[in-house]
Symmetry: D2
Subunit: 181 residues, 4 copies
Amino acid sequence: MNEPLIPVILGTARPGRRSQAVAEVVLDVMKQRHLATDLIDVADYPMASTAAEEAGTRLDHYRELVAAADGFVIVAPEYNHGYPGELKLLLDSEFAGYGRKPVGIVGVASGRIGGARMIEQLQQVVTALRMIPVLPSVNIANVTEAMNERGEFDVAYLGTALDDMLDEVEWYARQLAVARS
Amino acid sequence: MNEPLIPVILGTARPGRRSQAVAEVVLDVMKQRHLATDLIDVADYPMASTAAEEAGTRLDHYRELVAAADGFVIVAPEYNHGYPGELKLLLDSEFAGYGRKPVGIVGVASGRIGGARMIEQLQQVVTALRMIPVLPSVNIANVTEAMNERGEFDVAYLGTALDDMLDEVEWYARQLAVARS
Amino acid sequence: MNEPLIPVILGTARPGRRSQAVAEVVLDVMKQRHLATDLIDVADYPMASTAAEEAGTRLDHYRELVAAADGFVIVAPEYNHGYPGELKLLLDSEFAGYGRKPVGIVGVASGRIGGARMIEQLQQVVTALRMIPVLPSVNIANVTEAMNERGEFDVAYLGTALDDMLDEVEWYARQLAVARS
Amino acid sequence: MNEPLIPVILGTARPGRRSQAVAEVVLDVMKQRHLATDLIDVADYPMASTAAEEAGTRLDHYRELVAAADGFVIVAPEYNHGYPGELKLLLDSEFAGYGRKPVGIVGVASGRIGGARMIEQLQQVVTALRMIPVLPSVNIANVTEAMNERGEFDVAYLGTALDDMLDEVEWYARQLAVARS
């Protein structure tokens, strides 16, 4: 098979979002691993309710991206121990295309916990969507400590965590791409 | 003290939402119990990201309602085992006003589980917001079976579940209204 | 490959457990599907703390069963919205053998929710153990209504839910048995 | 009223448990705050199944301690993102005595997350038991770094986290002790 296609979903649209800088580093690392990837930015799919019609043709594009993917990485902050509302709105706009595809989650937080509680809740949602929640997750705590004055996130802050997660996402993506076809 | 003020938050803005008919019945029952209440409809606070500024003066009104309240009832459907994104966007737009106030949750679902999984996730969020998650919850399964051709929800379908929950919400609201002041 | 080996873990040791009758029906259905299976009864591995040494040679046997398996079905009741302590003690006594194997969960309850909240918590644990939580789950509500005077559980009460779950567990078990080897 | 009685439940019986040293420091801090407290050690209530009869008269003692309490602090490690089985066995052996009493949770972990995922699951269980889950929680990450060669835990490692939590547990314990009576 070709290289598996594993887009990165950026799960917050909040102005000043630090997760964007993290997502860009994740994309870089994935490209260095020769994975096919691209950014799906929740900010490109604004919705004010769980109603697919609302976002119209934009969501058709989202569904095409989901259908073509072999797996996913989600980069998202934790808000009050849960996931961002805008991420849930986007995830809930599709169902069939997610099935039997692995997803790794990168939690981003300004505090010490690194988004671990958001990840636990989001794993329940992706399980309901028939995805495979893959561990280890990546927990980025105290994210501002890893950002420079230009707003760039330092890849060294990740240690081996991201590669460990991508190893597993990639393994599932490869095995199940064959099996689904 | 006066009667405690316990608004009902309707947690979905999806067109055709059945939770609206349930929320109206909840308001009726609360008024018969001589509770002060009012509807906070998430559809009145459209947001496409977790950014309080976005909704502007509307959110000032939401915060005033939250600050004035002694407790809350949330009526919401379950989407993919989690809470609606639009409900999370609204809840995340405030923090201080929620503290030390009870909240009872009514789950609405077309399936057999009655929103129980959404309630579990939402309890974690309201705990993070410093509210008191109060049991028993109300699980409305197979909601369409309890609706007539005019789209009205039959209060009899609730049995004693709503009153059991309101007993507890009201007990906390009364005790802690005094304690907070 | 040979038929995948998918043991059933009975997750409560409480005297009078109704989950035992359910587990026996699950085993019957699996054998009719020509799956290789066997019962792992948590009651055979008594432990009073999370300490593998305690249960000694018995746990060596559990680990052999886990290592040989291609997937799992867990049948368990819900206690106070969580999983039974004895089930957690047994699951925590092993790690490496679970990896990349699917697990379907059957919730058993005397109430209306059918163990859905236990299933959500248990999905988080099995994800941490590197298993794949597979949906749909089976929710057996009001379990006593489906039991006769001899304590037997009526398979008809399940409808298509168990087969739908086994379809998915079996699909993963077959695909990943090849991939792991 | 007298000082509120807030026992500390030590939630693991695993040999070599580091949570014991943490629980002892928590007890010291509480005594300095002139709170009435005592240790409830899960190791004193060995059970191999969720069956209250099994532990017999010992559990009568546990129930008396619970009934007399005005609130609780639970100190427990995280095992595979969940709570220890032995802690769940003990909690499930009682119900009525917990109602309308606050509980603060101290998570203990050798890793970086500090038990945050265990706390989220345990909050759902204590909510089901009609307790009030109180935030902020205490997350003790990398616990071994805070222990000396005699196995003692350094109180300074806690910063203000424990006092912040106890402020809130104590506030609820005082207010609701009056209200329950």
